[in-house]
Symmetry: C2
DNA sequence: AAAAATTACTTAACCGTTTAAGTTCGTAGC
DNA sequence: GCTACGAACTTAAACGGTTAAGTAATTTTT
């Protein structure tokens, strides 16, 4: 059976397609009895409008894109949840694109958006994104764009972030307060704004506390196997840190396993804080002190701002940036008997 | 600046829109010099075809939908990864829909697919899905559909599953071998095929080992807070189980926390096995014995089958069902010093 | 009672691309 | 020299809706 179209309804009811279209959209140009006839037939035949015909004509797709580095990370999956909650409420569809931290993939994805496929874009940059011509290009085409978490400072649009500097400062201060003398920061990028801010917070805390050593900013790979042996190397070296801040959730397992392997006790020999939203943080061995980001709320906030801009014209995105604070949750990886 | 269209290219080059279209698709009807002229101008002006015009005309959207209960679950996020990997390779776009285990939401989502929005659908049912008219409806519209993990037996299409019966049997046998006398199964549904199969495997193992008690199949809520107190109640009761199999990853945290609260030792007082893909399973306290599902491969396989069917006509989906085995990984929650 | 406005439609253009069915011209075949 | 044919296009219809503009009949205004 072929799909029901407006044309078929029109023929059946001896009306023009225009009348059908208007009746279905409850236009005042159509009389109530006619509307009822149309709506009755439409629902009886289970008429469902073709998604693309409408989108083509209205130049609106009721679709947004979410571009992110990966999905197997609790921050991003919670953020998707927040985004989806709002999109669903607004009757929008959500296209998802994963960059796998790959800049050229990100560029290709954004380029495609010039096809009119999406009305707006939510994104979190890759760890590689140092050039941003592709983002400016999109922005110039006037496709509403909201960054969340990993933002591009150079593009003037709404940015939903968390207080990375303060969180990192707080985490560092916490490690210092717990007696750490040599604290390392594990990053995945030297380009990302979040990496920089987290580094700066860490650096500032070291300085404010007159910690003797230079900042130790360790750049990790985008590969689980490589990172595990990397962690073993770092934790096995004679000048190993006695405090570690993982700026990425997925490094946590590597650190824990490397310490286990090397028979280093957490928190006795090494204290660990992770930027993480793992719901299992409290049942790790030992339970994990985390900087917990408001992932769901950030996704939600980003979506809210995007939809505001889709619904209103002359809307200035820049005024809508938002910083939602993270929380330091102290657990057993930094404090005994936490 | 407005978007470049085929019309504009045609005017610029004094050609018909048809010629442009054909030149861009490298048709033999167009001479090589003309093709070159067209392609040069198109790339110089950064022409990007309108996604919806093409989709409307070709009746193909190069888009698939993924419908799942939730995304904040490592099984599903890994499955998305697998799906996305194939979709990207094939140049398809991926729409994501979350049902939040809600049947009416699932129905609404599937209904929308009759709009021609997607060329095919990958899905995993909600825990509530007991009726399947909405799925049959979609299937009758000849929109290719592949189930993964949570399948609908009643609809005759490809199903990518894991060996739920055997895995559950194995998990139960393992607990019995570890000395458990009273083993409970924690489920989230009595409708789902996976729940039933996992129950049957558990039941069979109890029977084969002549375990004295009746099967204990505990239905949990779709709410984290409710489940935590529920777990406390169960683990605090006088006839509490000494072995627990969680058929859903997210119940693990509740069990662990309830046991901690009640000062029950895992694995001494209670042994725990979870169907889980948590990468942190090995660093939990104690590390968690899991049935680890081939989530990424299942997503990938489902996508592969879907694209096969999209590319070939007269393709019989039913022959493409696949069962990819899970793995029991024994760790500290069932065996001391694992 | 004539003019103006309102109601309830229809007609036709349009969104941007694809494609079946011409058309024109040059060349090959007989 | 005439037909046939292929090359390289163009024309126009189509995909399925939406919407500005037009129209005929009825109602309201003056």
């Amino acid at each position: 059976m072929d799909n029901i179209t407006i044309k078929m309804l029109a023929k059946e009811l001896n009306l023009s397609t225009a009348a059908i279209s208007k009746a279905l959209r409850d236009s005042h140009e159509i009389s109530t009895p006619t509307k009822l006839r149309v709506q009755e037939l439409a629902s009886r035949l289970n008429y469902i409008p073709n998604a693309y015909a409408g989108s083509l004509r209205r130049r609106k797709s009721k679709t947004i894109a979410v571009v992110l580095p990966e999905v197997a990370d609790s921050f991003f999956s919670l953020a998707i949840n927040g985004i989806e909650a709002i999109a669903e409420e607004k009757g929008y569809h959500v296209l998802i694109y994963l960059t796998h931290e790959n800049l050229s993939r990100e560029q290709a994805i954004l380029k495609d958006f010039q096809s009119g496929r999406v009305d707006g874009v939510l994104m979190s940059l890759t760890a590689e994104t140092a050039s941003y011509q592709h983002i400016s290009d999109l922005h110039e085409r006037e496709i509403p764009l909201v960054f969340f978490d990993r933002v591009c400072e150079e593009v003037n649009t709404a940015k939903i972030t968390t207080n990375d500097f303060e969180s990192s400062y707080k985490a560092t201060q916490h490690l210092i307060d717990c007696g750490c003398k040599r604290i390392a920061l594990l990053s995945i990028s030297h380009c990302l704004s979040i990496s920089n801010k987290r580094f700066e917070g860490y650096e500032q805390a070291l300085k404010d506390n007159q910690v003797a050593h230079e900042p130790i900013n360790i750049l990790c790979e985008n590969d689980a196997v490589a990172n595990y042996s990397f962690m073993q190397k770092i934790m096995g070296s004679p000048d190993r840190p006695d405090g570690v801040i993982a700026t990425v959730e997925k490094l946590t397992t590597d650190i824990y396993l490397a310490c286990k392997e090397l028979k280093l006790s957490i928190p006795n020999d090494v204290k660990v804080v992770s930027f993480s939203n793992l719901s299992s943080a409290s049942i790790l061995s030992p339970s994990l002190t985390t900087i917990t980001q408001p992932a769901f709320d950030m996704g939600k906030a980003a979506a809210v701002v995007l939809f505001k801009s889709l619904e209103k014209k002359n809307f200035t995105m820049e005024d809508e940036s938002l910083i939602i604070p993270s929380e330091l949750i102290v657990r057993g990886s930094t404090v005994l008997n936490a």
